[in-house]
Symmetry: C2
Subunit: 268 residues, 2 copies
């Protein structure tokens, strides 16, 4: 009997979430996972199941999502790479394809994720930025918002910022860094960047929702601290809308890469 | 008989051209002019005809289009401004409304227009930039492209860069400035900026189409000069696609503004 070689393939993916019901496959409508799996199955001739670093919700974007899948196909990586990008729709790109150690797992081995949230803070909406930012017309006190950031750094219980009605094993998460800066090219765009070991669903959007309330002067920095300490979702403001959120990076500890392309770096 | 006061109102408009057949009203489908006229007619209670600084073609964007219209309505500008922005779709904004001298004409009195053309130059397409740039995967020689720019500055005959099959009185146009730079925030984005007294249809896109051929090494700077000097549309390469083009500014010589709002500055 011929030996069947099973390969573990890792994809680096960028997508515009506007027209999808999020990453995770579901019967109600198009998802990023569903579209890529369908194309991969066509290319490889067998059913493919993708495992991503984590789901992104409906309308959320990604410049650097990572997913892996197993295949018995011996098609060269370059062919898979080219076929994927010629068959995928315009709002999904795969910018790197590589073979990794059999043990690599896109979700379990991710040790750091970086999200960006864009707030367009200007009295008039900008039609060209509407799909990739939250339009907040009221003036925001950026310094007050920045004063909240040290409170969320480190290992904290983010129970107040989880998605209402969801069950999780623990609401404790570790945040490595969080910054809030005006964009270099457009001072009306405020960019919130957060790096952490992992995030709960809606956590970044719930944090931004509360930070913007501080920026508007409706909450003080002390109120923000009290919300965090209350460990109760019901005391926090509603989440920021999805279109401002972009998964910017997923990082892994040393992984044996068996074959590789020149790395492409995709930027916003 | 009561005296009827006719007012001349000037609008500053930003729009995402993705979903429109261009500025100018036409029966085949939605246009920016058509949508704004319909909303204005509803607000003012009479048929409104907008006159813009110039048309933009299907898929082309604007951050600073200027248009004017006459009205017999005495509704305050602030009411018109607020009603417009609450009734317009998300991809059109009016960021300033003001009453101007009766003689002001948005097209005839424009003395300077600035267009930006964005080229995303990277081996892999970026889904988040696809609607506002031309994806060119091949490497571009930026220095060679820049060497062409002095050739188009000044009063020149741009017959080679007009839209094929269109009739114009003269193909001579005056270009004040043209630059080509990498974006500060994303070095893969090349931004072409051109300022001129006026432009023919497709002229900017035809210039960019030829510049990119120089960047790819398929044309030399001398070839570009020969194309310009040939004054013949048939010798020039095809136009760059519409989604990279943005009308960035329209400027007027002194105009008597009768009432004004605090100026908003909309940036890309």
């Amino acid at each position: 009997m011929a030996e069947v070689n099973i390969r573990n393939i890792r994809l680096f993916i960028a997508y515009d979430g506007t027209n999808y019901l999020g990453w995770q496959i579901q019967p109600k409508g198009p998802t990023v996972q569903g579209v890529i799996q369908e194309v991969l199955s066509k290319i490889l001739g067998h059913k493919v199941t993708l495992k991503a670093s984590g789901r992104t919700d409906a309308g959320v974007h990604a410049l650097h999502q990572v997913a892996h899948f197993l295949t018995t196909s011996d098609r060269p990586l370059e062919i898979i790479f080219k076929a994927l990008n010629s068959l995928l729709p315009k709002d999904i790109s795969v910018w790197k394809v590589e073979e990794v150690d059999f043990k690599f797992h896109a979700q379990k081995h991710a040790y750091k994720k970086t999200y960006v949230y864009q707030i367009y803070n200007y009295p008039i909406k900008n039609p060209l930025l509407r799909l990739y930012s939250w339009w907040v017309p009221e003036p925001l006190d950026l310094e007050a918002m920045k004063s909240c950031l040290p409170l969320i750094i480190g290992e904290k219980d983010f129970a107040s910022f989880r998605k209402a009605g969801t069950e999780v094993k623990t609401t404790v998460r570790t945040i490595y860094q969080a910054t809030l800066e005006r964009s270099l090219e457009n001072s009306n765009m405020i960019v919130f960047t957060i790096e952490g070991r992992g995030f709960m669903r809606y956590m970044v959007r719930n944090l931004v929702g509360a930070l913007v309330e501080v920026g508007k002067g409706r909450l003080t920095v002390e109120d923000f601290e009290n919300i965090l300490n209350a460990k109760d979702r019901k005391v926090a403001p509603p989440p920021a809308p999805p279109q401002g959120l972009i998964l910017k990076k997923v990082e892994y500890l040393d992984v044996k890469v068996l074959e590789s392309y020149p790395p492409f770096e995709v930027k916003i």
